[in-house]
Subunit: 162 residues, 2 copies
DNA sequence: GGTCTTTACTTGAAACTTCAAGTAAATCGC
DNA sequence: GCGATTTACTTGAAGTTTCAAGTAAAGACC
């Protein structure tokens, strides 16, 4: 192992910068590659999409349903997009929408039985693809990465509020 | 630290599965959060977008220009999308297109001087955002993550060809 | 209890992306 | 060299996403 050469502050800074950029580039590349595969699989095999799957996944974990706002936060997408996605899912009979009893501005979205079945089928294939995709790492490496990403995520969340 | 409990093969498998899924979920979340921030910044401050920036970034590293196909591979997007993006960038005067001298099917895209200036301005802000976003990790952690992602990326590439 | 602000969501236009099908040039096999 | 295949890109339609502006209900403040 080589000793790091002494660097003046400016050079060190540039080096750090490039490092962060390279990290981001790689993160972006890996995510996009997996994303595209998953999306294509969901489209071809189920006539669905990653965005729809994501909405269904949120709802699958919420037996009492979720409001549009919660879906929008959970999927990291805009309100308008969630409105559009849920409308499409409703047209397909996968979810229902009803006005919240305690707040007439709010809409509660719920999975239908058919929606749950549909999701379960997709989730199986989805999981297989993900497991396959990350099989290049050992279990320990996956855990390490999970932990590091946890730090990044928390940092991003904190940053957002300030 | 606890000792891991003994697990039968099936249970162990399920555990691994959930681990990979959780890793993917977190990876996706972090990437999307950064992506959205960068995209919003580029839109608000420069009337551009992450996709356009990505094309310009590829071209900035290629003084002799790039073919549409290379751009498409580099940006991990479809041919049709690159055609669209490049047409928009050309209309804005940021790039030029010309038929490749050695292959009349191919188009070579090159950054104009104005395009390079525009990109340089955006790159500055972009880098600042990225550095800020990953400041939650130490330099060592960033390196670790970079290495792990390298493994993932290579695994994904190898998988694709098979 | 009436205005003022905030919140929850929807809408429409424009931007972007994908997919499938198409065009034209290069290359392969003979 | 000539037809068959492949490659490089474009096109058009449909799908998706975003943004800004809008509507309606809830809550805040007197």
């Amino acid at each position: 192992m080589m000793t790091a050469p002494a660097l003046d502050p400016e050079t060190r800074l540039q080096r750090d910068d490039h490092e962060a950029l390279r990290l981001w580039l790689r993160l972006f590349t890996c995510t996009t590659m997996v994303e595209r595969r998953v999306d294509q699989m969901l489209k071809r095999a189920f006539g669905s999409s990653l965005a729809r799957f994501d909405v269904l996944a949120q709802l699958d974990r919420a037996p009492d349903g979720l409001r549009m706002g919660a879906l929008s936060e959970g999927t990291l997408t805009t309100n308008g997009n969630v409105t559009w996605l849920v409308a499409a899912l409703e047209a397909d009979g996968h979810v229902t929408r009803r006005t919240a009893p305690d707040d007439r501005r709010a809409t509660v979205v719920r999975l239908t039985a058919a929606g749950r079945r549909h999701f379960t089928l997709m989730a199986r294939e989805h999981e297989a693809l993900i497991i396959h995709g990350f099989a290049g790492l050992t279990a320990l490496e996956r855990r390490t990465m999970h932990t590091l990403l946890g730090t990044v995520k928390q940092h991003l969340r904190l940053e957002r509020t300030s």
